[in-house]
C-alpha cells in the first residue's frame, strides 16, 4: 500500500469547452443584425435628410404638440380618477339599479373603440346643436379639444373604475373584519386599512392605464387637435418627409419608457415593506 507523500499541486481548471454554434445563436445574431441594420439605416436617413431649416420650423411645433399630448393625458387621467370613484362604488353597491347602471357604463366604454367614442361625441353631438345651444353647452362641445378631453375622461373613468373595484375586492375580508374587531369606524377602516392595501395592488394597472392613454391620445389628431401626432401629420403633409414619423416615434417611445421606469421605481419603493 502506498501513501501519497506530496500534495498534487493546484492546477488551473480545464478550459471551458467551446460553445457549440447552435441554431438559436445563429438566429440571435441574425435578429440582432437586423435590428442593428434598421437602427443604422434610420440614423443614416436622419443624418442625410438633416435640414436645419426644417428643424427650426417644425421643432417647436413638435414640442408644443408634446405639451398638448401631456396636458390631455394628465388632465383626463386626473378627472377620470375623480369620476371613477362613484362608478366603482356603483359597481360594488348592493343596489340593483346603481350596479346595473355602472356596469352598463363600464361595458360600453370598455367594449367600444376610443376612436368611435370620440367620433360619437365630436361629430355626433353636432346634430344636437339646437338643444345644446338652449342648454348653453354648445360652446363646450364645439371645440375639438374639449370633446377629446371629455371623451378621454369618460373612457379612462370606466377603466379606472374597474381597476379600483378589482383592487378593493382583492383585499382579503379578514382585513375588514379585523378593523371591525378593533372597533374602527367603517370610514376610518376604509381609508386607513382597505385603501392603502388596495392601492398597492392597483399601482401597476394604473401605470398601464396611463401608458394606454398616452398611446391612445394619438387619435385626437384625427379630429383636428394638434397634439404630437397631429403636428407630425401636419409636418408630413407639408414636407413629405418620412423622418417626421421617426421623430414622433422616438418621442412617444421616450415618454412611455420614461413612465415605465418611473413606475417600476415607484412600485419597488412603495412595496419595500413586502420584500422578504
Amino acid at each position: 500500500m502506498s501513501i501519497a507523500e506530496t500534495m498534487i499541486p493546484p492546477q488551473a481548471p480545464p478550459p471551458a469547452p467551446p460553445k457549440p454554434y447552435t441554431f438559436s445563436r445563429f438566429f440571435g445574431s441574425v435578429a440582432l443584425g437586423i435590428w442593428l441594420a434598421l437602427g443604422v439605416g434610420i440614423f443614416l436617413t436622419v443624418v442625410n435628410g438633416w435640414d436645419p431649416e426644417k428643424f427650426s420650423r417644425y421643432g417647436p411645433s413638435f414640442l408644443s404638440g408634446l405639451g398638448v399630448t401631456l396636458t390631455l393625458v394628465i388632465s383626463s387621467i386626473l378627472m377620470g380618477a375623480v369620476l371613477s370613484l362613484p362608478v366603482a362604488l356603483g359597481r360594488m353597491s348592493k343596489n340593483r339599479l346603481w350596479g346595473w347602471l355602472a356596469y352598463a357604463y363600464v361595458y360600453f366604454f370598455r367594449g367600444t373603440p376610443l376612436i368611435t367614442q370620440l367620433f360619437l361625441i365630436y361629430y355626433g353631438l353636432g346634430s344636437f346643436r339646437p338643444q345644446l345651444e338652449t342648454v348653453g353647452l354648445w360652446w363646450f362641445f364645439r371645440d375639438a379639444w374639449n370633446c377629446a378631453l371629455f371623451t378621454f375622461t369618460l373612457n379612462t373613468a370606466a377603466y379606472q373604475a374597474e381597476i379600483l373595484r378589482g383592487a378593493i375586492e382583492s383585499v382579503p375580508r379578514g382585513q375588514r373584519e379585523g378593523a371591525a374587531a378593533l372597533g374602527l369606524p367603517e370610514r376610518v377602516a376604509f381609508f386607513k386599512v382597505i385603501l392603502p392595501q388596495a392601492m398597492i395592488v392597483a399601482l401597476r394597472p394604473y401605470g398601464n392605464e396611463i401608458i394606454l392613454m398616452i398611446k391612445g391620445s394619438a387619435i385626437v389628431a384625427i379630429v383636428t387637435v394638434f397634439d404630437l401626432m397631429g403636428e407630425t401629420r401636419r409636418a408630413f403633409s407639408r414636407t413629405f418627409d418620412y423622418q417626421m414619423y421617426i421623430w414622433a416615434a422616438i418621442l412617444y417611445l421616450l415618454m412611455v419608457e420614461l413612465l415605465r421606469n418611473i413606475w417600476g421605481w415607484l412600485e419597488a419603493r412603495l412595496t419595500r415593506h413586502l420584500k422578504r
Binding site: S24, R25, L32, G111, T112, I115, T116, L120, Y245, L253
Partner: protein, 267 residues
C-alpha cells in the same frame, strides 16, 4: 385555374350573403331597417354598413394568426438561453408596445409604400404605388398584437414547470414533439384569458384602420353620417356593432376556456 378561383370567390360571396347577420335573408337591417336610413340596397346605408362589419371582422380574424405566430416565436426568443436572441426579442416588444397603434399604422403604411416604390424604381418601374390598406392594417395590428402576445405567452411559459420538459426527454420525445404534445396544450390553457383580453384590444384597434381608408365599420358609418347629417345615429350604430363583436367574442372565449379546462378536471 383562374376560373376555379372565380367560382370559389363567387361561392364564398354567395354563402356570405346568405349568413350575413345584418343584410342577409335573416338580417337585422333587412327586417327592422326597411324604410329607414338603414335599409339594405340603394335606399339606405344598411348594406354598406354590413360590408364594413364584414371587413372589420375579417381584418381581426386575419390578423390573429399572424400575431399569434410572431408572438409565439418572440416569446420563445425571449426565454431562450442565448443572450442575443433575448435582447432582440426585448427590443421588439419595447418598440411595438411603446408606439401608439395609430403611429405604427402610419409608419407601416407610408414606410411600405416608400420601400416598395424604391424597390420598383431600382427595377425600372416608375409610377405611384398604392399599398393595400387591408395588408398594411394586418401587418401593423399583427405586429402590435404579437408584441403583447409574446409577453402573455412568456409568462405562461414561466408557469410551466421544468419537469414537464424533463418528462418529455425521459419519454424520448423529440424537442419539437415535446413542445407540441406536452407544452403547447398547457400553454394554451394558461394563456387563454390573457389572449382573450388581447383579442378584445385587437378588435378595438381595427377601428383605426379606417384612417388609412379601409372601408370598415367606422369608415362606412362615417361616410353615411357625413352624407345624411345623422352623425349621432350612425356613430351610435358603429358603437353598437363593436359591442356586438365584443359580446360574441366573450361568449366564444368563455366556451373555449371551458373546453380547455376539461383536461384539468378531477384533480
Amino acid at each position: 385555374m383562374s376560373g376555379l378561383f372565380a367560382a370559389l370567390s363567387a361561392g364564398l360571396a354567395w354563402i356570405g350573403a346568405i349568413i350575413d347577420p345584418l343584410c342577409g335573408p335573416a338580417g337585422v337591417f333587412r327586417w327592422f331597417g326597411s324604410g329607414t336610413l338603414l335599409a339594405c340596397g340603394d335606399a339606405g346605408w344598411g348594406d354598406e354598413i354590413a360590408h364594413g362589419f364584414l371587413v372589420t371582422a375579417s381584418l381581426a380574424v386575419a390578423t390573429l394568426p399572424v400575431g399569434l405566430v410572431i408572438g409565439f416565436f418572440v416569446a420563445l426568443a425571449k426565454q431562450s438561453e442565448e443572450k442575443s436572441l433575448r435582447l432582440a426579442g426585448n427590443i421588439y416588444t419595447t418598440i411595438f408596445r411603446g408606439l401608439p397603434e395609430l403611429l405604427t399604422l402610419f409608419i407601416v403604411y407610408y414606410g411600405l409604400q416608400i420601400l416598395v416604390q424604391q424597390f420598383l424604381a431600382t427595377v425600372g418601374y416608375e409610377g405611384a404605388v398604392e399599398i393595400n390598406a387591408f395588408v398594411a392594417g394586418m401587418i401593423a395590428l399583427g405586429v402590435v398584437f404579437s408584441a403583447y402576445c409574446s409577453e402573455v405567452l412568456l409568462s405562461a411559459f414561466k408557469a410551466i414547470p421544468h419537469g414537464q420538459y424533463e418528462a418529455g426527454d425521459a419519454l424520448g420525445l423529440h424537442r419539437g414533439k415535446t413542445m407540441r404534445l406536452i407544452i403547447l396544450p398547457q400553454l394554451i390553457r394558461i394563456a387563454l384569458p390573457g389572449l382573450g383580453n388581447l383579442w378584445m384590444a385587437l378588435l378595438k384597434d381595427t377601428a383605426l384602420v379606417s384612417v388609412i381608408g379601409l372601408p370598415d365599420i367606422l369608415r362606412q358609418t362615417g361616410i353615411a353620417a357625413r352624407v345624411t347629417k345623422h352623425a349621432f345615429e350612425f356613430f351610435g350604430i358603429a358603437c353598437v356593432l363593436f359591442l356586438v363583436l365584443a359580446m360574441i367574442s366573450s361568449v366564444v372565449f368563455s366556451a373555449l376556456e371551458r373546453s380547455t379546462k376539461r383536461a384539468e378536471a378531477g384533480r
